[in-house]
Symmetry: C2
Subunit: 371 residues, 2 copies
Amino acid sequence: MTLSFSLLSTAGSARRGRIETAHGTIETPVFMPVGTAATVKAMRPEDVASTGAQIILGNTYHLMLRPTAELIERHGGLHKFMNWPGPILTDSGGFQVMSLTELRKMTEEGVRFRSHIDGSYHMLTPERSIEIQHMLDATITMAFDECTPYPATHEQAADSMRLSMRWAKRSKDAFRAREGYGLFGIVQGSVFPDLREESAAALKDIGFEGYAIGGLAVGEGQAQMFEALGFTTPHLPQDKPRYLMGVGRPSDIVGAVARGIDMFDCVMPTRSGRTAQAFTREGELNLRNAKHADDPAPLDTGCSCPACRSYSRAYLRHLVKAEEILGMMLLTWHNLQFYQDLMTALREVIAAGDDLSGDPQAIVQRLLPPV
Amino acid sequence: MTLSFSLLSTAGSARRGRIETAHGTIETPVFMPVGTAATVKAMRPEDVASTGAQIILGNTYHLMLRPTAELIERHGGLHKFMNWPGPILTDSGGFQVMSLTELRKMTEEGVRFRSHIDGSYHMLTPERSIEIQHMLDATITMAFDECTPYPATHEQAADSMRLSMRWAKRSKDAFRAREGYGLFGIVQGSVFPDLREESAAALKDIGFEGYAIGGLAVGEGQAQMFEALGFTTPHLPQDKPRYLMGVGRPSDIVGAVARGIDMFDCVMPTRSGRTAQAFTREGELNLRNAKHADDPAPLDTGCSCPACRSYSRAYLRHLVKAEEILGMMLLTWHNLQFYQDLMTALREVIAAGDDLSGDPQAIVQRLLPPV
């Protein structure tokens, strides 16, 4: 059968769960590093796994354009192509085709657009997106949807959400179920409770292996995002995983876990690592800052990653200032380790009965205290 | 005492030797990866070591400007700062100050120049260069010299060489000998046999732990370089290591080893790795080439490095085309592995009595045959 989810324990709305897939087990709550172009940038996949990452994300939009899904399929699928044997979730391309392309035309059928790489014309439809994700051999396939722009009027949000629901049905019809694989639907509806409820109901009628929440973390702010989660998750099935797309900062993740979310992805740890930003138990650090220039301390005394084990802040800052690739490699590694350490701590405290109520930033500091 | 050299065996002019240093043993002939700015670009030092590298090179010019030798000394020296516990050779800065700076003034005293980073003024003299290398904690310190430009008249080459010999004496006087450390002199004299002989004699009079040959691989071509080695190495002591600076391609190394050289450094494997060029048992490959786009074969079937073990040429080409950092990481790793595999093979065949006579490119292919 398709992939399966077990809810192991709950604490308030927070959930400790497990997803069994064709490519391995995923303990939830889980953070998925982003591997847009068949690589988690500046990391070898073995090293991504060493941080505790259990599943990574691939981007349909990027991969369909380069090197193409057809090429990846000929080379045995994305797992083999990029040397990541574990689970992979691919997005549908819907978000990126709207955010990365200038010339595009959306119709009931789908979205016609020009490649940002070479200007060539392409069409993404629910059927084509599902076919691409099948060729990529995605463990978890996402339904094709429109990520409703923010802000949107109730009417705009309703129209957009209902289009996504018709596309969700077409995605389901196009999906070829396989043992240990699954298809997730995506709840839309912007910040409107009635639309989120309507969307969740529509998706449940279709039936998916998991339910994502889309259209958040698009500028509405943490408070409104948490509010939207509060009136959305009660309409989602208890016995399926829930995925908050594109989120987020550590405190976003903690607050969302407290509201019943199981899965996350975000470019923040990897992108920050390439731009000299580090997440640490002492807070976020900018390694360009001159105050680190002569600091012999490790980046994060409580961290076990190679960047923290073997180097000083002074050295890491030197690498950043000299624009050395090793600086990006080490800071990316550290940030991914920090995120995975946070997820490990979250899984432990939920299992112990902590409902994670309270200020999420304070909880981050409680879970990962300065040494 | 200072570092020591043992000549283990010879085959014709080729030498199999061993250098014992304060930071470990170096089996020769040896190739030293270049770690200009306190990092072998795009590599973790553990991974550099895993290729078989025994010693790396650091650049005095770059390090004195950023992060400064004083900072590195405060942080325990270059070994600790960059997490490379093994031997490190630092150049004197003489070559780079002439090749990288626009505004410079050379006098008997030394070279005054402006930083290519921030335009600040600096002075390098034999005494200052040796002091900087001491602060860096270089296992092998190089005497400060002028790399004679090519081509040069006999008079120009003689004047330049004799200045370098006076600087070599000042370098020796400034060097503080320590257990397991050493100072190398540098033979100059361009392509003139009498000047090379005079330079070697002058250096032997001063006395060094090793003898480098400078001023080659600067545009004279392989044939003339080999010819210059042929009339230079007979004037060097048999019982000290010989280092050909800035060389080279695999065939350059083979031909130089056949002519009695023990040590090499070159940016070629690392720089090529960052520009999609790979050294393989099937020859040099450009991974940008479209013919690799759909090739499921490993980069080099005979190679044990991660790039060759876990990925296809198609994947590596995809990384290169998408300008992914992982592409530079993997190709750099492979090229360093290829160079170290070549050195391992050279050490084995010399020990077995092979004098490496014949076409050096053919010998490369014999030592590292296609699988």
